[in-house]
């Protein structure tokens, strides 16, 4: 099992969710946890103005999604994210995917553990 953490553009969330649904849904829906984050990558923060004075933000708003998957779904999930989160030609700020080892997964409702709980 792996835990996939991806940081994407907020406006791509809808597309990514649809792509994940395509890749992961086995009939009982797909599962994902989403949160709002601020990121700093090569992309610079936005400039805002306060009474005529420019203020450059250090961070840009991003969306982070977390998905626990069984091993055989890792690559499909990555491909789904890649295809949906990338802008036309790929632009700075498109984001990043991290894959972490996941040792255990437990469904709170039933107490099931492991691959079937994911």
């Amino acid at each position: 099992m792996k835990l996939i953490i991806a940081v994407i553009r907020p406006e791509k969330l809808d597309a990514v969710q649809s792509a994940l649904q395509g890749a992961l849904d086995e009939g009982d829906g797909y599962r994902v946890t989403v949160q709002t984050v601020d990121g700093h990558g090569r992309q610079a923060g936005e400039v805002e103005y306060f009474r005529g004075q420019p203020v450059r933000q250090r961070l840009v708003q991003k969306t982070q999604i977390t998905i626990g998957v069984n091993d055989k779904y890792v690559e499909p999930a990555i491909q789904a994210i890649l295809s949906a989160a990338k802008t036309d030609k790929g632009e700075i700020g498109d984001g990043k995917i991290f894959v972490l080892p996941l040792e255990e997964c437990i469904r709170i409702r039933t107490g099931e553990r492991g691959g079937s709980a994911i």
Binding site: E48, Y49, F50, R51, G52, Q53, P54, V55, Q57
Partner: protein, 419 residues
């Protein structure tokens, strides 16, 4: 406001229309205080929003009590040599009855007292824009109490009370260019120097927590300002709801609209971004500048006054980063500078009841300049003394940790939002 000594005029019957307008105006000016609280509150960081709003609200509480206790007596009691007023029956208003009439204006004296009291409340609250995010709340409360008693009330007496020395000299101030805006703006500047800048100020990621509030605040201020300016016809004529009020209403509206437009155009020109904070700032700058002139000038002059107000305030605000003081929300940049321009412009554009420079009466401009100079000097010196005393006894600033953690939680034990 120009008005006559109540004692020497024969009683006039109640004019219900004038009374209706003055009651309404007094209510409108009170609403400016929450308006100001939102205007300022929206501009600070989230952690300081409540304390910033409280700076306005506490003025309603503290000056609200001070005014009926002694404030009115000092400002509008029997004049002592033109320097300050004092009338025993005015203390606690205990000698004033519902039947007491104000001068020859056909309104109860209680109504006039209330109208004036709202001015006394909002003026120190204007100063708070300069001290946002770092002043000790207790010191602020003591400061505005002293400032109102020893700066505002005498100044109101000088300029507005029959027998006040600037009133006698002939300074025109329809609704408070000198008494309200210059005095508050200059005191704000002095105070921001005495306090020093916010610790994280020069790095400057101090973005406003909620511009919606600032826009709404500017809207409430505009609305309330009609009472502020058109209600000040009470100093000019009877019935109060008449020609002078109508003129003051028209110039107030016109100056605010023009200033808002011009500030927007300046920003569009400079940065390509017409901001909502710029819109709000332009509105307020125009309202400030027209205040002393409202019932004295024609609408076309109000346009010029509004347009120039945005120009000078826009650049005055930028000055601040160069001169190194931290007037957090530009109380001086907008109220001080806008008020000075407005008071001088009154001397240029006035046509009624007295002529100004452009109508051939250069002397009026001189009088206005004297009025401006005196107000600046008195407010600056007075603030320096009062704030100095408060600093020496209570301190002016919060601790470093309070500033870091925010004043809302550390002073007031609350957070503005729990989302």
């Amino acid at each position: 406001m120009i008005h006559l000594l109540a004692a020497i005029v024969p009683p006039v019957p109640i004019d219900s229309g004038s009374t209706a307008w003055m009651l309404t105006s007094s209510a409108l000016v009170l609403l400016m205080v929450p308006g100001l609280a939102l205007f300022y509150g929206g501009m600070v960081r989230r952690k300081n929003i409540l304390t910033t709003m409280m700076h306005s609200y506490v003025a309603m509480a503290v000056i609200g009590v001070q005014w009926v206790t002694v404030g009115y007596a000092i400002a509008f009691g029997q004049s002592h040599g033109g320097w300050f007023g004092w009338s025993w029956p005015a203390v606690g208003l205990h000698g004033i009855t519902p039947a007491s009439m104000y001068a020859d204006k056909g309104i109860p004296e209680f109504v006039f007292i209330m109208f004036q009291g709202k001015f006394a409340i909002i003026t120190p609250a204007l100063i708070s824009g300069a001290v946002a995010e770092r002043m000790k709340f207790s010191s602020y409360v003591v400061f505005i109490l002293l400032w109102s008693t020893f700066i505002y009330c005498p100044l109101a007496h000088w300029v507005w009370a029959t027998g006040g020395w600037l009133f006698n000299y002939g300074v025109l101030d329809y609704a408070g260019g000198t008494v309200v805006h210059i005095s508050a703006g200059v005191s704000a500047l002095v105070l921001s120097y005495m306090l020093g800048p916010r610790r994280d100020h020069p790095e400057g990621t101090l973005l406003p927590n909620n511009l919606v509030l600032t826009l709404l605040g500017a809207g409430l201020l505009w609305f309330g300002w009609f009472g502020f300016n058109a209600g000040s016809a009470v100093g000019i004529e009877h019935p109060v709801a008449g020609a002078s009020a109508g003129l003051a209403f028209a110039t107030t509206q016109t100056a605010a609209a023009t200033a808002a437009l011009v500030w927007m155009l300046i920003e569009w020109q400079h940065t390509g971004k017409p901001t909502s904070l710029g819109m709000a700032s332009g509105i307020v700058a125009g309202l400030v500048a027209i205040t002393p002139a409202a019932g004295h000038v024609m609408p076309l002059s109000a346009m010029v006054i509004g347009a120039v107000a945005s120009l000078v305030c826009f650049y005055a605000v930028r000055l601040k980063s160069r001169l190194g003081y931290d007037d957090s929300l530009d109380a001086f940049g907008v109220h001080g500078v806008g008020g000075i321009w407005g008071a001088l412009a009154t001397g240029l554009f006035a046509v009624t009841p007295v002529a100004g420079l452009f109508a051939g009466n250069a002397a009026q401009f001189t009088k206005q300049a004297v009025g401006v100079g005196v107000t600046i000097a008195f407010a600056a010196l007075g603030t320096w003394v009062i704030a100095g005393l408060v600093k020496a006894t209570m301190g002016l600033r919060v601790s470093e940790q309070q500033e870091r953690d925010g004043l809302d939680i550390t002073i007031h034990g609350e957070r503005g939002y729990h989302f």
